[in-house]
């Protein structure tokens, strides 16, 4: 347990809780960005440089921006006056606490977890690219198809209904 890990873990957890509990949606999304950045730093700690940078590029550069755009487009940028929690929120908290307890028990009691830390893997971007273009080329193509479909789908869903406006 290095001090760097503890600091990063605390930052990530605190900002994640803030992202889920603040009243103002824009504050939520900004603390979500801190969570994403903390996770990217954790990936860098785990020697997954490419994934860390991709995380920053995609999550902070695209997903977070999409979320703030959605917040502004649905006019939920102001702090709401009414209750922000759903009716059965106590049950929700209990369920997630139970989930965490089960996961934590499994993590702490599993004997499949190696006790010693192996040497840092020396993985370059070239290795990742080679793997993507040889062994994982089919998933890559499927992902390209999925992204195209998602883009077209998102445009069609969010497009204004022309017929209704005429009526």
């Amino acid at each position: 347990m290095s001090p760097v890990f503890i600091i990063l873990a605390l930052v990530t957890l605190l900002s994640a809780s803030a992202a889920m509990s603040l009243r103002n949606l824009v504050h939520c999304s900004l603390s979500l960005v801190v969570t994403f950045a903390g996770l990217a730093a954790l990936y860098l700690q785990l020697h997954a440089q490419f994934v860390g940078f991709a995380q920053v590029l995609v999550y902070i550069g695209a997903v977070a921006i999409l979320i703030v755009f959605a917040i502004l487009l649905t006019r939920s940028g102001d702090t709401p006056n009414q209750v922000v929690l759903a009716p059965g929120w106590i049950a929700g908290i209990i369920i997630s606490a139970v989930v965490f307890a089960a996961l934590g028990w499994a993590v702490l009691n599993s004997n499949a977890i190696a006790k010693q830390t192996p040497a840092a893997p020396d993985v370059t971007v070239k290795n990742i690219g080679d793997a993507l273009m040889s062994k994982y080329v089919l998933p890559l193509e499927v992902m390209g198809l999925l992204l195209t479909a998602a883009m077209i789908g998102a445009v069609i869903i969010a497009m204004r209904d022309e017929h209704k406006e005429v009526k």
Partner: protein
């Protein structure tokens, strides 16, 4: 002698690091790499603002700043001391925060702008052996930290609680997201050709000479097209005219930093210029051969001199464009990005692949020029259709 001049700063740093105790050497090395970088680019910012005001003045038929020189003396320096009073003014001005503003976010926005911009300099090779962090995924790092700039624009625009700020922020984010795609796609062609995301490798791949001409990527058909796309997209990314809609003074006051004053405004100003230098530096690395000399007989000039010569040339082009082109409209901006830049950048990636597989010879020049030029003409024609852009007529002015 030539070599020692080229490595002067590298050797100087190693010599200075030697004075630190052993345990502190990594930290000392980091500080001695970062501090000069910040100082040099900060100084460049100060000089370039004067050059910009003078250049714009000349273009608009006036003088620009020409009074202030060294304080308390009679030396005028043609007005190049102007940045000192400007800086002092920015520091001591009152820092006004609107009453309705979201104070924390309002305070954080300029910092969120400046830190990623400074981080981006870590991967720029400004000279031989002069890169702070030679990451394996250097170019990706550059684009990743650039993503945080959009966030800062949003934070500034939203937290000010001002409709002009919010409008400017929405414009800014839409523009940055749209132009980031051609920016990245045009660099993908270079990355494909080099086979590495390391900025140092990209520069090394362009270090040979073909007779008298250098092997820079800008001197190939796909590289030329890619450089033009990169340059236009970087104009838009750094919110420079003709893409300065987010801060269009005549339409929305100052866009997302309308409600910023004093030192925070200066931070925005600094961040914007440093971002412009960083992205020009990346363009130099990717297309213009980095710190390599343009001709083989000029290789004795130190490498960092070449980098900064190219950088200032690009910046002057930025200033020149700002002084001569009118601002785009929002729909023109979006159409240009999505209907012209992105298709051209995609075609450019394919052309780069064809260039690689056709092998050396005249044939690949002809094929690639046609493949880049054809879509350019067709797309341009297609977009200009039904626009009836003739000579401008004035209905009421005459």
């Amino acid at each position: 002698m030539v070599k020692s001049l080229d490595q002067l700063f590298v050797n100087l740093k190693h010599w200075a690091v030697g004075f630190f105790p052993d345990a502190w050497q990594p930290l000392g090395s980091a500080i001695l790499s970062i501090a000069p970088m910040v100082a040099v680019f900060g100084g460049l910012f100060a000089i370039i603002t004067i050059f910009e005001r003078k250049g714009l003045g000349r273009i608009q038929n006036r003088y620009g700043p020409n009074r202030v020189g060294i304080p308390f003396t009679d030396i005028r320096l043609c007005g190049f001391g102007q940045f000192i009073p400007d800086g002092i003014k920015a520091l001591i001005k009152e820092d006004v925060v609107p009453r309705a503003a979201d104070k924390v976010v309002h305070f954080l926005a300029p910092i969120v702008l400046l830190i990623p911009v400074l981080l981006a300099y870590a991967v720029l090779p400004i000279g031989r052996n002069m890169t702070i962090a030679d990451y394996d995924a250097g170019v990706l790092f550059f684009f990743a930290v650039g993503a945080a700039v959009e966030l800062s624009v949003f934070m500034a625009g939203w937290s000010s609680r001002n409709k002009y700020s919010l409008l400017g922020a929405m414009r800014g984010i839409a523009q940055m997201i749209s132009y980031e795609i051609p920016l990245i796609l045009s660099s993908v062609a270079v990355i494909m050709m080099v086979g590495s995301l390391k900025t140092v490798d990209i520069v090394a791949a362009q270090s040979t000479y073909n007779g008298l001409l250098p092997n820079w990527y800008v001197l190939t058909p796909w590289g030329f097209a890619g450089f033009i796309i990169f340059f236009i997209a970087s104009l838009a990314e750094s919110n420079r005219a003709p893409f300065d809609l987010p801060e269009a003074e005549s339409e929305i006051i100052a866009g997302y930093f309308t409600e910023y004053s004093g030192f925070k405004f200066a931070l925005f100003f600094l961040g914007e210029y440093l971002g412009m230098f960083a992205i020009s530096g990346l363009g130099i690395t990717l297309f213009l051969g980095g710190w390599n000399a343009p001709f083989p007989f000029l290789t004795w000039v130190p490498s960092y001199v070449w980098f900064f010569t190219k950088l200032t040339t690009l910046i002057f082009t930025f200033i020149w464009i700002r002084g001569t082109l009118p601002r785009l409209r929002m729909d023109q901006l979006m159409n240009f990005a999505w209907k012209f830049m992105i298709p051209m950048a995609l075609i450019n990636v394919v052309v780069a692949g064809i260039w690689h597989f056709m092998g050396p010879g005249l044939a690949r020049w002809i094929v690639c020029v046609l493949l880049v030029g054809g879509p350019y003409v067709l797309l341009g024609r297609g977009l200009m259709e039904n626009k009836h852009l003739g000579k401008r007529t004035y209905r009421f002015a005459d």
